[in-house]
């Protein structure tokens, strides 16, 4: 692309609102978002959060009630789906059942009135990219789920859109294939350099593939940032709870010594030292969010950690690379703890064991809302 002076953002979503009849709140309630060219972006949220509606507005299947969508500075208002420089990979793949793999992939190029030889060479190149060349003559019904997913991707990519929308691209695959395909999608995206916008409800999918993630809730963006930032620095209770496991403590600030807050948490019957250089006035209500893997478990009181709790193991769930533990505090509150299984020895923890939990002052996130 030519490097214009003060180039407009590649994709600009500007205060977009969409309401559906009968909805309690707007499906999409004033979303603004800029996405850079070549970016791998994920819209993450629970079902009904508005992410799919936003995606359908980008594709042109729905029109915003308010706000604008600009692609390379061009307003998409009134531009029908067939005229947009956008392609979509549907959740159901929506492959044409009466066409072969090659015909499916070539369908979009045929609409551009390209010559037969041009279509054939571009289809062949795309089928090579998704490793489907040997299946070019097959019908979708003769393919496995993973192969269909690749046909859908190839069909959407072959037109070289400015923006590729992927609606739950991995949802229909089984777990093992999903993990392989995540890396494959990233590899392909880097090869073709097209902007990818993935919509997903699967936080693992979003965090592992995307360069930036927007977490959506009730039609609004709850938090926008890089995957690690969203995971380690959630700004709200919703984001902390939606992404990954989390233990929440409601508490009240009782002191502040420059770098650390002292927070009294009634539901844990404990005082915690929490790193918080910005400082907070005593008396402020806060919620502490503590990820399960940030907690250390030991049989002896951990002297080197500032925050310590005693508890009883209630259950241990072996998950392979890690085990999930449920530990009950003396007052009955349950905490989730993740133990990584670095050794092959049998787990030392069993239900009923009395243990000590400890965490660093930098481990919890302070949520003000």
């Amino acid at each position: 692309m030519n490097s214009g002076i003060a180039a407009p953002p590649h994709l600009a979503i500007d205060q977009v609102v969409k309401r559906f009849a009968g909805g309690v709140h707007a499906a999409v309630g004033g979303v603004s978002l800029n996405i850079a060219k070549g970016e791998f972006f994920a819209l993450l949220g629970p079902s009904g959060c508005g992410k799919t509606t936003l995606l359908r507005m980008l594709a042109g299947f729905e029109s915003p009630d308010e706000g604008r969508i600009l692609i390379d500075g061009a307003d998409m208002k009134g531009v029908p789906p067939y005229a947009r420089p956008v392609n979509m990979m549907f959740q159901s793949y929506a492959l044409f059942p009466h066409m072969s793999v090659a015909e499916n992939v070539g369908f979009g190029l045929k609409q551009e009135k390209l010559s037969r030889s041009q279509i054939e060479s571009r289809v062949a190149a795309m089928l090579d990219l998704v490793k489907l060349a040997p299946h070019a003559g097959r019908k979708p019904a003769q393919l496995s789920g993973g192969e269909r997913q690749r046909v859908a991707l190839a069909r959407a990519l072959v037109k070289e859109p400015k923006l590729l929308l992927l609606d739950e691209p991995l949802a229909a695959l089984d777990r093992k294939l999903r993990e392989e395909t995540r890396f494959e999608l990233v590899r392909i995206q880097q090869r073709v350099g097209i902007t990818f916008l993935v919509v997903t409800h699967d936080q693992e999918e979003a965090l592992s593939m995307a360069q930036r993630v927007a977490v959506m809730n009730q039609g609004k963006i709850a938090q926008l940032g890089e995957p690690r930032e969203v995971y380690e620095h959630p700004q709200s209770r919703f984001v902390a709870e939606f992404i990954g496991g989390v233990n929440l403590f409601d508490g009240c600030v009782i002191g502040h010594d420059g770098r650390h807050l002292t927070v009294s948490c009634a539901d844990a019957e404990a005082m915690f030292a929490v790193e918080y250089p910005e400082g907070l006035a005593a008396g402020a209500d806060v919620t502490l969010a503590l990820r399960p893997e940030k907690i250390e478990v030991s049989m002896q009181k951990p002297q080197e950690l500032p925050n310590r709790l005693s508890g009883t193991v209630r259950a241990v769930a072996f998950r392979g690379e890690a085990s999930s533990c449920e530990v009950e505090l003396p007052n009955g509150k349950l905490l989730r703890v993740t133990l990584s299984n670095t050794a092959r020895a049998a787990p030392s923890l069993r239900a009923g064991d009395a243990v000590w939990l400890g965490f660093a002052s930098s481990a919890p996130v302070v949520l003000k809302s």
């Binding site: 067939y82 392609n87 037109k159």
Partner: protein, 296 residues
């Protein structure tokens, strides 16, 4: 999965029923009709010569192709067949052209409306077919509703020839058989995955192109089913050409009726019927082969 012996038995039982039905009510009657078509007319009960006759030499078969040769020799039959096929082909095409958009609109209508619209499609069945065809006479005749209305409005000065011609037969055929076209088309279109059309639009196909390259090919089984359902009974149609047609609009069903009831020539009537069936087998097998290819 390997079907167990019990399931094979059950499958045969399920298949046997329709086959028994076809054998009893289609194949056996057909063989009887075919047998009669090889006989000769005679005065008596039944009015044709028996297949097996006994004389001094013992039993011998009385069969000849004379009736079929007669069909070939008199151009009346050929013209009647041709007329039937022409009327039927045109009426089937018109049914398809009217029925497809209707079926499409019903299939895309919101849920509650679909049932209501489908009810409207089958509503005419609540009145006798014969009465509905008679009603068309009242509409189309020289001093019928349509002519009177046009005359009263001053749009025409003499009644239009709307009845007892090819036009009225065509109207009668299309009107009577349209529901049989709409219902199978609706059944196919209703199952169509509409995200395929969104996918086509997303890939750059304008609505009309998306229809031609996605909707239409995927609804061909419905088109074929509707066309067969309409075409086959129309070819043998007797009531409509009899009531709405004129002397020039001979259809094979009418000829058959005349041979059977007016001339009491059962063998010739049977030959006409067998020839009609043979004539129908051609388009049916063509459509079936197309369908089989499309599905594979």
């Amino acid at each position: 999965m390997m079907p167990g012996p019990g399931s094979i038995w059950r499958r045969w039982a399920v298949l046997a029923l329709p086959y028994a039905w076809l054998l009893l009510f289609f194949l056996v009657p057909f063989v009887i009709v075919f047998k009669i078509s090889l006989a000769d007319q005679q005065i008596g009960v039944p009015p044709y010569t028996p297949f097996l006759a006994r004389d001094d030499g013992g039993w011998h078969i009385q069969a000849s192709a004379a009736n079929y040769l007669f069909l070939l020799s008199d151009s009346l039959y050929f013209r009647a067949y041709l007329n039937s096929l022409r009327f039927t082909a045109v009426a089937t095409t018109i049914c398809l052209l009217i029925g497809y958009p209707m079926a499409y609109a019903i299939a895309r209508a919101p849920g509650a409306w679909r049932t209501r619209l489908l009810l409207l499609v089958i509503l005419p069945f609540w009145t006798s077919f014969l009465i509905r065809v008679y009603a068309w006479i009242g509409l189309l005749k020289e001093n019928g509703v349509i002519n009177n209305a046009l005359l009263a409005m001053g749009l025409i000065h003499a009644p239009l020839p709307l009845i007892n011609n090819a036009f009225s037969v065509q109207i009668g055929l299309v009107y009577s058989y349209l529901p049989y076209m709409i219902l199978p088309l609706y059944a196919t279109l209703e199952k169509l995955d509409w995200t395929l059309l969104e996918a086509a639009a997303d890939l750059g196909a304008r609505p009309w192109r998306a229809f031609w390259s996605v909707t239409l090919p995927l609804s061909l089984p419905g088109v074929a089913a509707g066309a067969l359902l309409v075409f086959i009974p129309m070819v043998g149609e007797f009531v409509i050409p009899d009531l709405l047609g004129g002397p020039d609009n001979l259809m094979i069903g009418k000829v058959l009726w005349d041979e059977f009831f007016t001339n009491h020539d059962w063998p010739l009537a049977a030959a006409v019927a067998v020839a009609m069936l043979a004539l129908l087998l051609l388009p049916i097998s063509v459509i079936r082969r197309r369908l089989a290819k499309g599905v594979a």
